[in-house]
């Protein structure tokens, strides 16, 4: 609760924290695929995307710590906060599921993140803009990778198509939060909608049925999945606080 009050008093800190947490949590999720992906090339791709996201998270969280001015750096923010203090969107904390569900999550997120970073790259805050300009080049690859797989699975076999539809259907409820008028980026919705519709048409898929959007991640109200993810990610620093290589 104290964290929330502080965040509202300091919108730039909150902004950098949201961007950092989105990238951190999705990067951690993708790392769970390492050694388990359907093919070596996909293993490499998911690990590389996760690595890019961890790099972006480091920059955004270091900046958040700098803005906050209380001596916390990216590691302190990543490893020494509990679940209620995380500000990532609900989409990124959703379990990997099968490969199609992972691709659905990446497709919805990377297309949004690419548009968002393009906007941030042109933002007046120079430190945020520098990270955004660097990140947007990497995210373009992520969006393309995920979109290509949506087409391949959606327009593939009966089995891959069923799974792609199910994956998109599961993730769709977490989309509204990305465009929330208070904490999200509502102005990006038309362009995002057009991109998503274009790829789905190419994949011979229909837009998932509208669902009541699940929100709350930006206020620290997370699904039960985030705690389990943090338990693994933060284990070492909780067992041995301050441990370094």
């Amino acid at each position: 609760m104290t964290e929330m009050v502080r965040a509202e008093e300091n919108p730039l800190f909150h902004h950098a924290l949201r961007l950092g947490d989105d990238a951190l949590i999705l990067g951690q999720r993708l790392s769970e695929w390492c050694g388990h992906a359907p093919m070596l090339e996909i293993d490499l791709a998911l690990a590389n995307i996760g690595l890019d996201l961890l790099g972006q998270a480091t920059h955004f969280l270091n900046l958040a710590g700098e803005i906050e001015g209380k001596g916390r750096d990216a590691d302190a923010l990543a490893f020494h906060r509990d679940v209620l203090d995380f500000r990532n969107c609900l989409l990124v904390e959703q379990p990997n599921g099968d490969f199609a569900q992972t691709i659905a999550r990446q497709f919805l997120f990377s297309n949004w993140q690419e548009l968002l970073m393009r906007e941030i790259a042109a933002a007046p805050e120079p430190r945020l803009a520098a990270i955004g300009a660097k990140a947007v080049k990497e995210i373009a690859y992520h969006a393309k990778f995920a979109s290509e797989w949506v087409v391949r699975l959606g327009d593939g076999t009966d089995e891959s198509r069923v799974r792609m539809i199910a994956g998109l259907d599961w993730m769709w409820r977490f989309v509204d939060e990305l465009f929330d008028p208070k904490d999200g980026a509502p102005s990006l919705r038309p362009e995002w909608d057009a991109r998503i519709a274009g790829t789905l048409a190419e994949a011979n898929l229909e837009l998932p049925k509208p669902r009541r959007g699940a929100v709350g991640g930006r206020a620290g109200h997370h699904s039960e999945h985030l705690g389990h993810l943090l338990a693994e990610m933060q284990f070492l620093q909780r067992a041995y606080p301050g441990a370094t290589w």
């Binding site: 490499l44 520098a130 660097k134 990497e138 393309k144």
Partner: protein, 160 residues
Amino acid sequence: MSAVVELSLKDRILEILSQVPDPEIPCVSVVDLGIVREVRGNTLVITPTYTGCPATIAIEHDIRAALDRAGLSRIKIETTLSPPWTTNWISDEGRAKLRAYGIAPPVKGAAKHSLRETPAECPRCGSAHTEEISRFGSTPCKALHRCLDCREPFDRFKCH
């Protein structure tokens, strides 16, 4: 007078750093890759390639060690993100070294079109009859390709 001294210090630093290899692709130096941006007074400005590249920290350590060995402990290292690193900054010499090492260099001036690259030229037989296997390879900066003539797989430095 001070301008002359500054110039020679800059040249000396660049000479030292041209001997510092990239930890992941040791055939090229940190200068060849365009990681070294400028020398401003007693400050050396460097930039990371990809935000998550694990070599970033090693590169800074290696540069620090090389400067210290040359008696240049007073030179500070500053990291900048802006403007973002691009493969257009890889020198011609660096491109030739990559090719000789078996990595197809990135197309020059094509960073804008990084997602629609022309076919890579096979670094072994020179054929342009090649295909992409995976856009993600053994490091963030490389993609996996295959030559359809000599049948050898090879890495390509991605346009970025």
